[in-house]
């Protein structure tokens, strides 16, 4: 009987200790409450007309295309162009299978053309990109791919695909890195220079 009592009190003690540990550790996990709908940032519900973008990165004097193309006879045959050499030389966007008229419209020079044949203005070029790069398009629409500036809870400016990726050669270009932090040796050198200068002056005198 005595032995039994011992066991039961021991078990109760262990149980209580366990409960105490659990309750203490659970208190650490704070419960977060969600924001009501009207206070959210509405990033997902993005309307194309609400997008505030910096000016499109056209080369100087290249747009509108009709300035030149209005006076030319359009030809749908795939060929090396005798104008737009700058684009021809850098073009590396599935070069083997694609060329100008897969994205540009033959009939309406100042528009882009979706795969369906639907025309869109240059301002909405992201729709064209999104036809193939659906995963990036999805992330871009919620602000995860690409860059936004402005306010985290309000008005932002969006960069379009073409602000960072040249549509004719889309790989992001390498950059020169800014200065690295000082090495410990650099600091010591600086200090040596500072301390040596007055000494030299004194010797000259």
């Amino acid at each position: 009987m005595k032995v039994n009592n011992h066991i039961s009190s021991g078990t109760i003690f262990i149980l209580l200790a366990f409960l105490l540990i659990v309750s203490v550790s659970c208190r650490n996990r704070r419960q977060t409450k969600e924001l009501p709908k009207e206070k959210r940032a509405h990033v997902a519900a993005m309307n194309v007309n609400d997008i505030s973008v910096p000016p499109l990165p056209f080369s100087d004097g290249i747009f509108p295309c009709t300035d030149c193309h209005a006076h030319q006879t359009p030809s749908p045959i795939k060929r090396v162009l005798n104008w737009h050499e700058d684009i021809d030389t850098i073009f590396s966007h599935d070069k083997e299978n694609r060329w100008c008229l897969d994205c540009h419209s033959l009939a309406s020079r100042d528009s882009l053309k979706l795969a369906s044949g639907k025309l869109i203005p240059f301002r909405e070029s992201f729709k064209l990109c999104g036809q193939c790069h659906g995963d990036k398009y999805r992330d871009w629409k919620v602000g995860v791919h690409g860059k936004r500036t402005g306010e985290w809870n309000g008005k932002r400016e969006y960069l379009l695909c073409v602000h960072c990726h040249n549509p004719h050669s889309p790989k992001f270009k390498s950059l020169k890195p800014e200065a690295p932090p000082h090495l410990l040796g650099d600091i010591e050198k600086d200090q040596e220079i500072q301390t040596q200068k007055p000494r030299q002056d004194a010797r000259q005198k």
């Binding site: 206070k39 940032a41 919620v142 860059k147």
Partner: protein, 297 residues
Amino acid sequence: MQDKNNSRRTFLKNLSTTALSTILLSGCSSQAVEEFFQRNFRELSKSDVDRIINKLEDKYFLKYGKKFHVSAEPAMDETEFAYGLDLSRCIGCRRCVHACVKENNQSREPQIHWIQVLQMDKEKGIDFSHSNVHYNPELVPEEGHFYLPVSCQHCRNPQCIAVCPAKATWQEPDGIVVVDYNWCIGCRYCMAACPYGARHFNWAEPTIPVEEINTETHYLGNRPRPKGVVEKCTFCVQRVRKGKYPACVEICPVGSRKFGNLLDPDSEIRYILENKRVLVLKEELNTEPRFYYFYGV
């Protein structure tokens, strides 16, 4: 016995009086004395804060010849900040490091950088012992490497705060870990406790070129610091409490830096946590960072 006790008391009394009068007579300005006796920022009344801020603005005007604005904006309601950094995008260009230095008035000499960009070997993965912060090639990114910028992780369980003997550093309701530079005693315990090397000490009077100084400041953030205190990333408290993105988010040329409110289910940061592969640094230490690294691809 009675005599002995009395004499000790008188001794201590005299000692404190002497100390006080020494301070007063030693040519300290009244402002220095007042600063010395200033209470912890969290215990100050609204009028005290206003008075102290006015004095600070005057002091900075005298020192730098520019009109400063020192804000004491408290945390917004219903905000809990979190940060996302896309490891698959970062190219290690260090634009963020230098934008942060300018925005937050960090000392140029001796040099303080709140952000360290670590270059890592792709073969080794995230391995701090083989990382390099001094890389300097002609162009980045370099073949076979990836880049991992580290700054304050704004932990939910911050060890720096736990060890501070003066309670000069604490976590604000919006999750930002801040330092009261007027209360910091410069013991650097927090620097020893931080597993991310995110805290930096002003070993000398900070030097900032006057033409590059940012006069839009926050008391707990980027106001010019005195010598002998610890400083760190504050998520640009002077910007984010006005709704703006931190300076590093604004400058990042590849858009790898994301910032937002965790309590807002429509925010970018929530999308990242719900849809991307996310990691935190040194998870095993149970610091529970608010700084999430993710793979955007």
